[in-house]
Symmetry: C2
Subunit: 128 residues, 2 copies
């Protein structure tokens, strides 16, 4: 184990300072990722997002947008029109996290079949 690894492990093991527990757990949520990926194309309104992200409920979209705004990934802008127009867009930080997230999702997509096959094999083996 290298010194860097040791430092990383100490960091990961400390709850308050652990980026996994403190950052990735939030962003690893499926709805968070789907919203971030949906916003890559540009700013969008609530109802447009809702129709683009199949299966998301109004309540879940509202809550996840709030969480993403609180984390600093999404900016919410209210335009003073009647009725008020509200748009959501990625911040610089939101655009920043999309890249490593996308690499992870790409990996997952490429290995999706392997994982499904592994699950089937495991379930067969443990049912013996």
């Amino acid at each position: 184990m290298t010194e860097n690894n040791k430092r990383a492990r100490r960091k990961f093991n400390n709850d308050e300072e652990c980026p996994i527990r403190n950052v990735v757990a939030q962003i690893g949520d499926k709805w968070s990722m789907l919203i971030l990926f949906a916003l890559v194309d540009g700013a969008d309104r609530f109802n447009a997002l809702k129709s683009r992200i199949l299966g998301i409920s109004q309540r879940m979209l509202t809550q996840t947008l709030r969480d993403l705004e609180r984390e600093g990934y999404v900016k919410r802008t209210v335009f003073p029109e009647v009725p008020a127009r509200v748009e959501y867009e990625l911040t610089a930080m939101g655009r920043g996290i999309v890249k490593p997230l996308y690499q992870l999702v790409s990996w997952a997509g490429e290995h999706h079949d392997d994982i499904k096959n592994s699950r089937i094999a495991y379930d067969k083996m443990t049912q013996l």
Copy 2:
């Protein structure tokens, strides 16, 4: 939106075929990540893992190792000794996913302070 993006979105929106919901949700779990990172250094026994991953309970380690084995990231080997020695190690797929996972965690580590500051600012703003 490019054709590739559209394809990706359709894929993400279909639950059964969605790598986010089907793969990343499992691996995005903090304990899964901590175990995978702990195994990067090589095979290890249950009790050694338990002492290296601070805060993990026996039950959580048992369950998460089983999940990781089922997904195909971890291989469990029982050595015919008395008492039986059981070791866990990364499979080729486990070593494969560690890289994009690590990039995500590195990004999270680098931006941890920004995210914490964003949360504080958001909470102040919404308490007005």
